[in-house]
Amino acid sequence: MTLDPPSTVSTTSRRGTATAATRVLGVLTIVMIGWLGVFGLLLSPADRDQGDAVRIMYVHVPSVWLAYLAFIVTALASAVHLFGKSHSMQADRVAGASAEIGVVFMAVTLVTGMLWGRITWGVYWQWDARLTTTALLFISYIGYLAVRGLEGSRSQRARRSAIVGLLAVLEVPLVHWSVRLWRSLHQEATVLGTDLDVSLDGLMLFSLFVGVVAFTLLFLWLLLHRSRVLTMIDLSAETGLDAALAQRRAEGGVTA
């Protein structure tokens, strides 16, 4: 499975970023998400304490897993770009694509978490270490995407964003540590209990497992497509003007 867009794209009128492999992956993803729906909504029981609200977890937990996975991939790809001998642009595009996916699913995590919190704790937000770190991480990666959008050459963009991607890795433990230390001095806020202290029965655990597998497949599928799209954008930026000029010349019957 290669990350390059199919070679047919530039030569034929068939536009797309799909290959046979991604189609199979896409179908698998859809099947797994269908399964998640069946297990999460129909087969798994309602929780004794939380009632049906527990079903939010089947989306929440896999999304947070996906988001962290995406940010780890971004950091690794950034390192490959920065320290690799060839300063691979492909690694840079994978980092960018992965961060975009991570930000989307971090948003899903925060929204589903807040909805669950409102039902279970009675509040949308709690200043505990995990929530606060997640929120700050979300904002940091929005910053990362902003850095990717900066002007400059592609190699400049790649290097800048690789460094920001790696600095974010330094940031996570420090932010988490500081917020934990901060909250440990304010005991009254933890009365609500932020630990997900749910005794999961077998079927619930299995539903969660289905969710994690489904979202991992979804991540791979999105990553392949998105990095191919980014490759095509870069290609079109490189060749777009030449192609347009050639086309205009051909229209006017002028040979270059």
Partner: protein, 230 residues
């Protein structure tokens, strides 16, 4: 190649930045008044002496963070306006030395600003600084400032010379600097005795602030070269 040692380079860059500041007087004529106005506005927003006394450490550090963004922007605006960074590169300057130089110059400016803000808070918010808290306040402020300067210098270097850097820099720096805000505020709270805290409660924060400063200053000296070098 060059006869200038790294240390001399650091000192030269730092002295240059401070000399520019001394001549332009932007810190004293614009940034300090801005920081003080922020303190006054906080007082308007949080009407009530008891609240102000309780929240003074947080307000001082918020005013500090916001003002520092302006100083940092400026510190790099003077470099990019005339292509001074490029000139430094042409001169074969070690970029990590440039990083340390700019970072130290920033630390000096931020510490001056902090003194003004803390005195302002003592006067306007009615906090009383105990002698026992003074050591904690000074050490925690210095480590917080080192961390803040390092982080700001890295990201300002990254955003220097690009359009829209004014709005990008806070977006990049503020989330990363949140441990500094938390640590410095809590330490200052203990030093001031705000909300019934005692001085000993403030010391654990010094650890956090120091680790932050060390991680980001060494990280910064490593990545600053590749960041600028393009």
């Amino acid at each position: 190649m060059s006869s200038v040692s790294r240390l001399q380079m650091v000192r030269a860059v730092c002295a240059k930045d401070l000399r520019i500041e001394q001549r332009s007087k932007v810190l004293t004529s614009q940034i300090m008044p801005f920081a003080l106005v922020t303190l006054v506005l906080f007082a308007f927003a949080l009407d009530g002496d008891a609240i102000l006394e309780r929240t003074a450490p947080g307000l001082v550090w918020l005013a500090m963070l916001f003002s520092s963004m302006i100083i940092v922007q400026r510190s790099f605006a003077v470099e990019t306006a005339d292509g001074a960074l490029d000139a430094l590169r042409v001169a074969g300057a070690d970029m990590s030395a440039v990083f340390w130089g700019k970072c130290f110059a920033l630390i000096v400016q931020l510490i001056i600003l902090e003194v003004v803000l803390i005195v302002g808070a003592i006067v306007m918010y009615g906090i009383d600084l105990r002698i026992s808290g003074l050591v904690l306040l000074v050490t925690s402020s210095i480590s917080a400032t080192c961390g803040l300067s390092a982080v700001s210098t890295i990201y300002a270097g990254l955003a220097s010379g690009v359009r829209g850097r004014e709005s990008l820099l806070p977006l990049l720096v503020l989330p990363v600097a949140s441990p500094v805000l938390i640590g410095a505020t809590r330490a200052a709270e203990a030093a001031f005795g705000a909300g019934g805290t005692v001085v000993s409660e403030g010391w654990p924060w010094l650890g956090l602030l120091s680790v932050f400063a060390v991680v980001f200053s060494f990280g910064g000296s490593l990545v600053f070269g590749p960041l600028i070098d393009d």
